[in-house]
Symmetry: C2
Subunit: 218 residues, 2 copies
């Protein structure tokens, strides 16, 4: 688990740049639930995900959450170093959604590289464009898909992610992901159950008619 394996532009860096990165990178192992970044309060650096899963979300004044995107093995979390860029004018929170092994590049080190290397700056551009694209996808979902379609899509995505037909997730947690109230989720899940698409048990949702969910999500 080293930068040479996980940092995509490693081969395009100079020896001096590689040494700078190698001398400053640190490993972090964090348990599920760890809050790694919270708005503009902290800004430690970039995280490279060696294993595990991170979730980026926003939080309203009333404590409501919306999941913006998730990051998986080999993804790079740029927004945990968002203070590097003056024009990022929003607060984002990042948490470990599973136990995760991370490589952390301190923000000052990365910022220096970005300021001197067109390759690093260009790569950073692509990273930001990827996250921007995920948020744009979310905007389209919110504006143009009704809630039943969004929920069906969410259940299918979770099932693919967990590689299981049984999701161990509370209605509360789904509501947080989707930026809605728990009651709204519960009502729709009960409708799905009445249509035979899911089976509900305490803390568990079983996908019982995947084809119907897929046709709804489409």
């Amino acid at each position: 688990m080293g930068l040479a394996d996980y940092f995509p532009i490693w081969d395009r860096l100079t020896d001096a740049e590689r040494r700078t990165l190698e001398n400053s990178v640190t490993k972090r192992t964090v348990p599920e639930g760890t809050l790694l970044h919270n708005g503009s309060n902290d800004c430690v650096g970039l995280f490279i995900i060696c294993s595990g899963q991170l979730r980026a979300f926003i939080l309203s004044d009333e404590g409501k959450e919306v999941t913006l995107y998730r990051l998986f093995e080999r993804d790079i979390c740029l927004m945990s170093a968002s203070c590097m860029m003056a024009s990022i004018q929003f607060d984002i929170a990042i948490e470990a959604e599973k136990d995760s092994e991370l490589l952390m590049i301190p923000k000052d080190v990365y910022k220096n590289l970005m300021d001197s290397s067109a390759i690093v700056a260009g790569y950073t551009n692509e990273l930001m464009a990827s996250r921007f694209s995920e948020v744009m996808w979310l905007v389209e979902q919110i504006m143009w898909k009704s809630f039943d379609k969004r929920l069906a899509e969410f259940l299918l995505a979770e099932s693919a992610l967990e590689q299981s037909e049984t999701l161990k997730i509370t209605h509360e947690k789904i509501a947080n992901h989707m930026g809605t109230a728990r009651e709204v989720v519960t009502r729709m899940l009960r409708y799905f159950q009445s249509e035979g698409m899911v089976g509900l048990a305490r803390g568990e949702i079983r996908l019982t008619n995947r084809a119907a969910l897929e046709s709804l999500a489409r």
Copy 2:
């Protein structure tokens, strides 16, 4: 009207880079309503706005629109050259919302500069971060603000933009801006009228109680 006046990082470019830009930049004068960019179909280059106003929006399959952000004098439109970056995976449309004078930097010229200059690449990063921030603001609006607050805020923003208490805009157009149906806008405007906050006439909305709108928007 030249690059030296309108391109913010002009002073930080080399002589060779300035010559490259000066030899490729073109002036365009476009009337209100001109569609300058439409998804991935065209990708001409960056527009620098010398005068006028551009609007960036997305379009659903059914023809519904949502305004993402607007660009004003001295702003730079990066998304009309979105094909420069492989990771931009969404389609955006850009139209002139007023008669506009633009400087256009062809995308290949800009891409070459960005690939060789950390300064240009870093500046591009800041441009993208600005637009990303505007979209994040929109996400927060949609998720957490009820429609009455959003509409009040929209009317106040339009009034500030036009420097007038009387807005010449149709309900249809407002609906397009906000990604909702005309009926929803009309219903809410009638409620605002009944509360004495606005006066409605054909093709016109007069702000009659700005304080009430402001307190609603807050």
